[in-house]
Each structure stands twice: as C-alpha cells, then as structure tokens.
C-alpha cells in the first residue's frame, strides 16, 4: 500500500509553471556599457526557470552569466545552451519572493543586462498534481521551508481546507536535507496526510522542522517538546508559531491562485507527529478544525485529580510556555479522533531526556496507576470524559497493531474528516480490525457524500 503510494509519488508530474515569455531588446546601452534587455517573465523562487534569449545569442558565445540582488552576486545553477538560459536556485538558497534580480550576460564582445522579479507561484495549474517547496521566509515568520502538495482538481473539491501533517523523520540528524527529504516523501506519498489530500482533493502542508543530533535532548522539534517551546532565540524559536505562519502563507498562496480556504485546518500525525498535533491543538485550538492522530498525551487542564499538569502534560504553565492563556471555548470546537494499536508498547511512562521529566513521569503514574499500555489508554479516555470533553474526542483502539499506522486508518480518516468539515462534531463508526483495507468502500463513502449535495 505504502509502496504503491510512493511509486505514484515518483511518477507525479510537477508543474513547471512557466508564463509565456516575451522578450524585447531595445538596444539602449547604459552608462556602464550594458545593453539593456526587457523581459516580461518571472523568476521561480524554487523551481527551474527557462528563459529564451533573442536569436542573436545563438551566434554569440556567452562566456559568463551573473545574477545580482541589491548589489550582491548570487550563486545559482545556470545553464546556457545557445539562446536558452536556464536558472535554478541551489538548495536552500532560493530566490526571494517579490525581489527583483539583475541578470547579466557576458559575451566575447558585449555585455547585456536585464531585470527579473522572483515569485512564489501565482499561476498554478490545478488540472494536475503540484508539489511545491516554499523556502524559509523569516520576514513572514518561518525560518524553515515547507512542502505543499496540491492534488489535481483541488479547485473542484467540496472541502476548502488545508490539511497539515508535521514532519516526523524518525531519527536524529544534523543534516536538514535528510529531514527535508522525509518531509517531501510525507507530502507526496507515504502517510495519512497525503492520503487525505488525494481522496478529499485538499492541499497538504508539511513543514521541514529539524531534529538535530547535536543536543538532541533539547531539540525534539518533531514532538514540539517542552525544551523546544522554551527556546528563546535562534531559528528554532517557537516552531508552533512558525507553523501558523506557514499555514497563513500557504493559504495566501492558494488564494492568489483563486482557491479560498477556511481559516481552520485539519491536522494528522502519528507517534512524534501525533504528539505535535496533540500539543498544537491545546496551544492553538483557534487554528484547528479537526484532528486525527495517534499521539494523545496532553490534557486541556491545569490540574487533574490533584496533580498539577505542566507542559507537555497540561496547561498549568501555558502562559510561560506560549505567552497566551488556554482557549477552552475554541478547544471544545475541535473534533478529535485519537487512536492506538492494541499491541503498541511505545507509550512508556518513564522520564526521557528528550521529552518527559521525572516530574512528568511521576504525574503520569499518579494518573494511570499502571504501566500497561491498554490500561493507560482506557484511563486516558476516562480522564477526558471526567474533564467534560467526551463529546468532542473519540478514543479508538485498532486490533492487531503495534507501533505503526494501521491500514484501517486510511479508511477511517477519510470518513472522519468528511463528517467533521461542518459545524457539528460527529463521531464515526471506526473499524476495529487494524488491517482493514478497502479502497472501494472509501470510494463509495465519497460518492455518497457528493450525491447528498
């Protein structure tokens, strides 16, 4: 199943997004000796841009090409084949959205110059799948790139909403490229988010957050750990707010392309990314419409049965952590479906350097009075009921499944987001058998929903 999706991902057509270019050479020479050329074309910030130069360049050898921004030379991947100039940015050195670049061409006897404006895409072709990487944009509030997968016919979907799946590499590495590659795979294939994106025809956002090996114990970004939330400086500061900035940027990008989305998003994740979703929901419920994840560990309360719950178990110190108070009203509006496998042994209530403190472990044991994962899971459900959130959250156990994403999720998640797109919170009749897989049933589900309208 997973393999098939990955394979599909590989044959994905990525749009090249080239406007029809028009070129004019007005033969004026400026006082620095450059012959000015006018080009009515945009420079793609991430993808390759192909520029067809006037015919006379087929006979002139171009020895050198340079790109300049604000008086500084920029490095890029440049190719010249006769009069075809192709330019792509080097990885992580993308052109900046909205900036105007000067490109110079040096031939044996002449030199030419033209200006070109860089853009983050405003002419998407919705008739095909698009995979887009948006570079980090500190000015807009995100210091890491993100991937946006836009399934074809997104504009025809009933569901005008973004789905977000935080990246979860599964191991540490100081090389952001590796996290980036995994995020890309998440965006185009492997997991639940891309599955929902394809079936419901909604865009998917996957951030590229790091999970460094250096000081890994303080840097577990993929779970949105306490140490990560407390970072006071550097690129990794407040990645929760960075994700919100990415969401807004993606919504704006799609709006520019004529696709207006709801403000609130769907979110999904499993294990580390499930925890990320879980914590993000408590911190920013006003951003979230519905969540479906396997990572429930955080309670929307300051105290529980006499235990003070600090982040990441509860909201007792949310002011210190997030600089805002807990928004109970908005939290209650979030439809939540959380699951585990009956054979999953990963939820250990013990202190770990990267996540739980000794205090957290003690509190968890006070709450659960057990180390048995199934007993803990049932207790979690009871506690959420006791707190009065039973109506908005559904707990589910998939049978025959360890610490992995059950196949049945690929069916149930579609069902869940379909019925929780509107104002009411609806629980679903979820599959018990974790290995259940029936794409025909999923198709029927969607057909039925569309016939209603």
């Amino acid at each position: 199943m997973k393999k098939i999706i990955r394979l599909l991902a590989i044959v994905l057509c990525l749009s090249t997004l080239l406007p029809i270019m028009t070129f004019a050479q007005n033969n004026t020479i400026n006082n620095e000796g450059y012959t000015k050329i006018t080009v009515n074309q945009l420079l793609n910030t991430v993808e390759e841009t192909v520029i067809v130069l006037p015919d006379n360049f087929t006979n002139e050898t171009i020895d050198g090409v340079s790109i300049e921004l604000n008086g500084k030379l920029i490095n890029a991947n440049i190719n010249i084949n006769k009069n075809i100039l192709t330019i792509s940015p080097f990885e992580y050195e993308y052109f900046k959205d909205g900036k105007t670049y000067t490109i110079r061409l040096f031939t044996r006897n002449n030199k030419y110059e033209f200006n070109i404006k860089a853009t983050n895409l405003s002419n998407l072709d919705f008739s095909k799948d698009n995979l887009i990487k948006i570079p980090a944009n500190p000015e807009k509030g995100f210091n890491y790139p993100y991937w946006l997968f836009i399934p074809k016919e997104v504009n025809a979907s009933e569901y005008k909403r973004l789905i977000v799946e935080p990246n979860n590499t599964g191991y540490v590495s100081d090389f952001l490229q590796l996290h980036d590659e995994e995020a890309k795979m998440t965006a185009i294939g492997g997991k639940q988010g891309a599955h929902v994106a394809r079936w419901l025809k909604i865009p998917l956002l996957v951030p590229v957050f790091p999970r460094p090996e250096t000081n890994w114990w303080d840097n577990y970004y993929h779970t949105l750990s306490r140490d990560v939330m407390l970072q006071k400086s550097g690129d990794g500061k407040r990645v929760d707010l960075q994700l919100i900035a990415m969401i807004k940027d993606a919504q704006e990008l799609l709006a520019r392309n004529g696709l207006q989305l709801e403000k609130k998003v769907f979110m999904t994740g499993f294990s580390a990314s499930g925890q990320f979703v879980n914590r993000f929901t408590v911190l920013h419920p006003e951003m979230v419409k519905a969540v479906y994840h396997g990572g429930f560990t955080m309670y929307p309360t300051d105290t529980l049965n006499g235990n003070k719950l600090t982040f990441p178990l509860g909201t007792a110190d949310i002011e210190e952590i997030a600089g805002k108070s807990f928004n109970l009203e908005e939290y209650k509006k979030v439809a939540q479906f959380v699951y585990t496998g009956d054979l999953d042994r990963n939820d250990r209530i013990e202190p770990s350097e990267e996540d739980y403190s000794e205090y957290d472990a003690k509190v968890m044991y006070n709450l659960y009075q057990s180390h048995d994962p199934m007993a803990i899971w049932k207790r979690k459900e009871q506690l959420m009921n006791q707190l009065g959130f039973g109506d908005s959250i559904q707990f589910h156990i998939y049978k025959g499944v360890g610490h992995s994403i059950p196949q049945a999720v690929y069916h149930d998640i579609i069902k869940f987001f379909m019925v929780n797109h509107g104002n009411n919170i609806v629980k679903i009749d979820a599959t018990e058998d974790g290995s259940y897989w029936n794409p025909d049933a999923t198709t029927q589900l969607i057909k039925k929903a569309y016939n209603k309208h």
Binding site: S66, R104, Q177, L178, E181
Partner: protein
C-alpha cells in the same frame, strides 16, 4: 556526561569539516595584455578541490572595484559551484563534484569593463593532518574503475598505528532520491557516526571507507546498488554496473592513497554492516571473497548469501547462493578464500524488519526459497536454520551467530561494544569467538 560527550563529538566533527578547507598558496600572475577574446589572463599553479571549499589568492585586489560577474566553466558548461570574492581572495564551493585533473576557467567581470580569465586544474583534496582526524572525499574516477565518489576517514591514530591494519568498509544506506547530495550526506553520516563506523575506526586507529552509491527515486524499477541485487549485477548501464567491482577499485585506490601517506593497510578489509549495509556486506563477501578479512553483520533478516549452490535439493541462485555465480559474474566462486573470512552475524529478538518482505530487496522467487528452506519468520527458526545450513555445508568454523534478547532494529551500546570486540579479536589469522552481551539493551 552524555551531553559532554556529544559536545566533544560535535567539536571533533567540526574540526573534520574544517579540515577539508585548504588554502592554496601557489603562484598566480597576471598578464599585462588582453588575449584574443578580450580577457586578461591570470596563470596559477593552484588547484581547485573537486569537492568542498577552495580559497585562492588572486594577483589583483578587488577591494575598491565592483565585481559584476564571476563564473566558472569547462568546455562551455558552467560548473555547479558557489563563488565569492573578498579583496584578493576567491572562495569556491562545489555543489556538484568537479572532474579530477580537468581544467576550468574562472572568469571575473568588473564594473570598469575589465575581464579576467584564470585557467585552473581541479584535484581531489588530499591534504591531511596526522595530528587530527581527517575526512577525505575522493571523486569518481572512471579510469580507475569507480564511477562514484567515496569517503575515506583517517583517524590521527592511524598514522602511528604499528599493528596490522585492515581498512574498515561499510556500504551506504539512506533514501531513494535523484538528488545526489542526499546520498552524499547519508554516506557522510555513516562514516562520521560515532555509534558506528567512526567509533570502530577511532578505537582501532584504522581508516574507514564508505562508497557513495545512489539509490534512485524510482527504486522499484531500478537496480538496488546498495543491496547488490540481481539487477545491479545484470544491468548493462556502464555507470552503475558491478558496484562490487567498483568498491574493490575504490578500496585499492584508498590503499594507494594511504600508502602515500605512510599508512600501510592489508589488502583485505573488515566489512561491517547493519540492515541494508549488512546485505551489501554479505553479498560483497560472496562476490569478492579475496578482498574480505572479517565481516560483522547485524539485522540480516536472519539470512545470508550462502557460499554454496544447492541446499536440500534446491538450487540457490544469486543472491541466496552460488548456483549461477559464474554466469552472473564471469568468474568461479573462490570457496577457499570465502572460508577464511571471520564472520559475526547477529539479530535482535524484537527486530520486525524483515527484508524478505520487500520486493525491491528480494525478488519474489528468492523470498519464496528463503521462506521454504529456512523459515517464514525471521525471529522463529530462520536464524537457527541459517546457522545450521552453514555448519552442515562445512562453513561453521569461522562464523559466529548471536541473537540478542530485548533488541529491535537498532544500535545499542552493547551491540557496538561486541562489534568492536569481534574486530579486535579477529585482527590476526586465528579465528576467535567472542562472548557477546546476552541482552541488546543494557539495564537487564
């Protein structure tokens, strides 16, 4: 303590990276007249590193001159490099490897209308410091038999090591991607892994080598070079053909480089591998037994590449056995050389990652053979059956098997400790079994 260790490692890694930067200090001179293409020529004895950063002193100081363009080309194509000029220094960083021994033109255009060209040769950077740990990257050399680059790590201890040394070799692992930088990064990750290859190299004071073989994005339909699968042996594509022979060529190249640095290693190597790189090691040992002294492999899916052609009446074709060895490789299997290899195979009793289930790793036919002859469950019988088969067929004398308790598909201090123990114990001619930890995880 652990934190302190990590910080130390970080500093070491940094110094390795910095070690790659070389300051060229040859002679550069500027001609006073323009050539026929309107360039002032700069001649230099300096070289560009094929990989990484090079800083070159220029005979002109650009402090007060605005530079309008810099580019580097060879045969009319721009090189994939990043450049910057600061006063009289140009810094070049490669994005894609330059070609060793090829000549490039660095061109500089200034606002005042002057243009300069400096022809310069590219060379692998072999500057090493015996007082430091060194990471060297050798670019592809088709003329020497390898079409991909490789990493060579030389710990400072290797320069003074008087023991018998066997180069440590591990295959590379990582994502399927068409972006080579990803494969480069994963290979670098492996050779600098302080819970793996770097730890063994530093502890034994022995150099290590990791090839950078790609795994293509379309991995279901392309040869799996890092698995040395049938497709990778049968392909006609010159570039990716026979990566076993390519690795042997890399090893010989590295041995030559080390010898020039005064480090003499034996012709045979120690192979280590985990999971994918374990499969690579097992198959490489079968294909090139004369190159292998020791092999330590973990998470093998409880199976190996058997050094015989038939078992229980079933023919074992490559990569399960040697039935079609000659047909595929063009040479006879050298069973005597294979028998000399000291081997340690281990598994974790909670390792659920079974490569026989993945069709890009094992073809259906081969997976069926394994399941039928050695067992369907890698944690229940297959490991024992594999060991039994090797013994029955006369290969038990120099192979040790071990199943760890409470161990998944992971590296732990215990497994790392045992691997080092085995490598140390088997550095000489004699085969020595070790007493491995019973449990994969400590704390029992």
């Amino acid at each position: 303590m652990r934190k302190l260790q990590r910080i130390c490692v970080f500093i070491v890694t940094l110094s390795i990276v910095l070690g790659c930067v070389a300051f060229a200090n040859g002679n550069t001179t500027l001609s006073q007249t323009m050539n026929e293409n309107n360039y002032y020529e700069i001649t230099t004895n300096d070289v560009l590193n094929t990989y990484g950063e090079t800083v070159i002193k220029l005979p002109i100081n650009f402090k007060d001159v605005k530079i309008d363009g810099v580019s580097i080309d060879r045969d009319g194509k721009f090189a994939l490099v990043k450049t910057s000029i600061d006063k009289d220094e140009i810094t070049v960083n490669t994005v894609e490897d330059l070609v060793h021994d090829a000549t490039y033109n660095i061109r500089i255009y200034t606002k005042d209308g002057k243009r300069y060209v400096m022809p310069i040769k590219a060379k692998d950077n072999l500057n090493v410091n015996p007082k430091k740990n060194n990471l060297v990257r050798i670019s592809a050399k088709p003329s020497k038999g390898f079409n991909f680059p490789y990493y060579l790590y030389i710990p400072s201890g290797a320069f003074t090591n008087k023991d018998t040394m066997h180069l440590l070799v591990e295959g590379n692992n990582g994502y399927a991607s068409d972006s080579f930088i990803i494969h480069d990064t994963s290979a670098k990750d492996i050779i600098t892994n302080k819970n793996g290859l770097k730890y063994y190299a530093d502890s034994l004071n022995v150099p290590s080598l990791v090839p950078i073989f790609p795994r293509f994005a379309d991995h279901m339909n392309t040869p799996y070079l890092r698995f040395l699968d049938r497709k990778s042996l049968l392909t006609d594509d010159e570039q990716i053909k026979r990566v076993d022979l390519q690795l042997t060529a890399m090893i010989k190249d590295a041995q030559n480089i080390l010898s020039n640095l005064g480090i003499e290693v034996e012709s045979k190597v120690s192979l280590v591998g985990l999971s994918t790189s374990a499969k690579f090691a097992q198959r490489y040992a079968l294909l090139q037994p004369h190159m292998v002294k020791t092999m330590v492999v973990g998470y093998t899916a409880s199976i190996t590449s058997f050094p015989f052609s038939e078992y229980k009446g079933t023919k074992l074709r490559y990569p399960i056995g040697t039935a079609d060895y000659k047909e595929i490789t063009g040479t006879e299997f050298d069973v005597e050389e294979y028998k000399k290899i000291a081997q340690f195979h281990y598994m974790g009793d909670r390792d659920t990652n079974d490569a026989t289930q993945f069709r890009d790793c094992y073809e259906e036919e081969d997976a069926q053979t394994i399941w039928r002859l050695f067992g369907e469950d890698q944690l229940n019988g297959r490991f024992e059956n594999t060991e039994k088969a090797l013994k029955e067929m006369g290969f038990g004398d120099r192979i040790q098997f071990h199943m760890y308790k409470d161990l998944r598909h992971e590296k732990t201090p215990n497994t790392i400790d045992d691997i080092l123990k085995f490598l140390k114990a088997n550095n000489g001619e004699e085969f020595n079994r070790i007493k491995p930890h019973e449990y994969g995880r400590s704390g029992h």
